[in-house]
């Protein structure tokens, strides 16, 4: 509970609202959408905004709103999955590399360096290209592409911490290697990883959309915004909303993630005071000093 309060203070109301909104959709989406996102009804195809279908229907008669909600859930699910996988694997690799150092570190880092020097989309695309377009292949591909950065991050934290006196004293006190790693080094690495992940989620969401857009990620009929957008491109002139709505939703979600990451970073770096705070401070100080 305290964590949530801290988050709220750091991040501000609008972002908390946005995050809350998306969490709500993720958990309760299925019960909230008016129709089954995959239910086709050709009789009602390509209708525009109406009372019955708030956002209209697509070319196969599926309710756009429900599809948007389903898309949100898909994206959130994908992002969480990839981050969990990449984060944990990356942390393990990074921690081991940072702790043991030596040639193990060298080799692992070289491989990680390679992973870092090739952008995620290319790697993911290649993997999906070889193994076939499929939701799980996409997740796996992205997770593999995303591991290096977290490994690098964790390794950095651990390598720096390992040289600190307190680790040395733990060793002297007889703490086993595992204990040191699990109880002390991992939480430190976890902190950095979480902070980065919050900012990274946006990029990941975009990549999922990119792959789906190319037809190599989430497959129809499963709803996903990138895929919805590409399917609607041919109808850009007649039904632009089918393109705009998924694009807008994705933009808003990524903005939410990005703002979250930025706010967390901001919380660590105080900025100069706003005019209002300055006036306040001035008044307080004069009261204290004068009289």
């Amino acid at each position: 509970m305290k964590a949530i309060k801290d988050l709220y203070k750091a991040v501000g109301l609008p972002i908390c609202f946005l995050i809350g909104f998306f969490i709500f959709i993720a958990v309760f989406g299925k019960y909230v959408s008016p129709y089954d996102p995959n239910a086709q009804n050709l009789l009602k195809a390509s209708q525009t905004f109406s009372a019955e279908h708030w956002f209209g229907t697509d070319n196969l008669g599926r309710d756009t709103l429900s599809r948007l909600v389903a898309g949100a859930r898909t994206t959130l699910f994908g992002v969480t999955l990839v981050l969990l996988m990449a984060g944990s694997v990356g942390m393990v690799i990074g921690t081991i590399s940072g702790y043991f150092g030596g040639w193990l570190d060298e080799i692992l880092m070289r491989i990680i360096d390679f992973g870092l020097s090739v952008p995620s989309l290319v790697v993911a695309l290649a993997i999906v290209g070889v193994f076939g377009p499929d939701f799980w292949n996409m997740i796996l591909a992205l997770a593999i592409a995303w591991v290096p950065i977290y490994a690098r991050l964790a390794r950095g934290v651990v390598a720096a911490a390992v040289n600190q006196p307190y680790i040395e004293s733990l060793r002297v006190l007889g703490a086993s290697r595992t204990r040191i790693i699990v109880k002390h080094l991992t939480p430190a690495a976890l902190g950095s990883v979480l902070i980065y992940a919050s900012a990274d989620a946006g990029v990941l969401a975009l990549n999922i959309a990119n792959l789906s857009f190319l037809g190599l990620g989430v497959q129809p009929p499963q709803a996903e915004w990138g895929q919805m957008l590409v399917a609607a491109l041919p109808y850009l002139e007649e039904a632009p909303r089918l393109v705009i709505l998924p694009g807008l939703s994705l933009t808003i979600m990524v903005i939410g993630f990005n703002l979250l990451g930025e706010a967390i970073a901001l919380a660590k770096n105080p900025r100069p005071m706003s005019k209002r705070r300055l006036f306040q401070r001035r008044r307080e100080f004069l009261k204290e000093i004068a009289a």
């Binding site: 105080p270 100069p272 300055l278 001035r282 100080f285 204290e288 000093i289």
Partner: protein
């Protein structure tokens, strides 16, 4: 109360200057109603411990505070008759560098590491003397030899990291006089340097002052530097002026207990080996809080009940010099005795 002996307008006239600083974390008042003057040709040394406000005193009126700090400034600071606190940004910029030159404490961070030294000096001459780039570059070379750097022409093309600490400070000095200012503010110019180099810089400053007929305000906590070059001394404590007067008065006929304590704590060669290291007990007060009465009282061995009653005003010290002043009720009593 504060009289300016001498005919001409003082080149720097500070009256009731008060500076309050606000940062996101805290607010402090490092300068609390300070007044003094600097006349042409004078060298005023402002002495005090770290945190006494001596640096802010000089830099805040010119707007030279670090980023992220908001300041409230009250009082007046007149340079050649013009109050810089009310001047517009344009006039202020003309004064900075052109009327008043500044030498900073740490020459390494004061210089831009990725620009050539020649450029950093020449641009001041370009701006304030309206020289062409080539003429300015030439002037920079002349300035470098003026400050005692050998082989000035090749120096112009060098970068700060290629020089030693002492050399860098000389460059800093060259930069500060490139605009031909009438007043030089030197903020602890020797603190970051080796002891041997310190003496060189001090004599360089004296030499330049003589040649270029500038007034200098030198901020320092080193009594040796004070006795080496100052004509006038102001002692700061907790943002307030404790004592001010000619260098002889303040160093040899000091009256304020703080000044006495300061001078006493300087170890001398003549003291017998094993004699006690006398510092001042206690520590300076917190400038973010209100100070009742005399700021030095908690640490003062001569404190009397009057010291608690409101901030002590500056009064004349007993003796002949009309300009020797101190803010101390004990001194006030002595003065009363003298007059009686």
């Amino acid at each position: 109360m504060i009289q300016t002996v001498g005919s001409a307008t003082p080149i720097l006239d500070v009256r009731n200057l008060t500076v309050t600083l606000h940062t996101p974390k805290t607010s402090v008042r490092p300068v609390d109603r300070v007044s003094y003057t600097v006349n042409e040709g004078e060298i005023l040394a402002i002495v005090g411990e770290s945190g006494s406000g001596k640096t802010i005193l000089n830099l805040a009126p010119l707007g030279l505070l670090p980023a992220g700090v908001d300041s409230d400034i009250e009082g007046s600071v007149r340079f050649e008759g013009q109050d810089v606190l009310t001047s517009g940004e344009d006039k202020l910029r003309a004064v900075r560098g052109g009327g008043i030159g500044v030498i900073f404490q740490d020459p390494l961070s004061a210089l831009n590491p990725v620009r050539k030294i020649g450029r950093q000096i020449a641009e001041v001459a370009e701006e304030h003397l309206k020289l062409t780039p080539r003429a300015a570059e030439q002037r920079a070379g002349e300035l470098l030899s003026l400050v005692g750097l050998p082989d000035p022409l090749s120096r112009l093309q060098q970068y700060p990291h290629e020089l030693s600490g002492g050399q860098r400070q000389r460059v800093g000095i060259a930069m500060s006089i490139a605009g031909e200012p009438r007043l030089l503010i030197a903020d602890e110019p020797t603190t970051a340097l080796d002891v041997t180099v310190q003496a060189q810089i001090v004599s360089l400053l004296k030499d330049l002052q003589r040649r270029l007929k500038m007034a200098i305000v030198i901020i320092t906590h080193d009594i040796g530097v004070v006795s080496g070059m100052a004509t006038k001394v102001a002692v700061m404590y907790a943002g307030r002026l404790a004592e001010i007067g000619s260098v002889d008065d303040v160093l040899t006929r000091s009256v304020h207990p703080y000044t006495l304590g300061l001078l006493n704590s300087v170890p001398t060669l003549k003291a017998p080996i094993g004699s006690r290291f006398s510092g001042l007990p206690g520590s300076p007060p917190d400038l973010s809080r209100r100070i009742d009465g005399c700021a030095f009282m908690p640490r003062c061995s001569q404190a009397i009940p009057n010291c608690e009653r409101g901030r002590p005003p500056l009064v004349h010290a007993p003796g002949d010099s009309p300009e020797h002043l101190a803010a101390c009720p004990v001194v006030m009593n002595k003065l009363a005795d003298e007059l009686a």
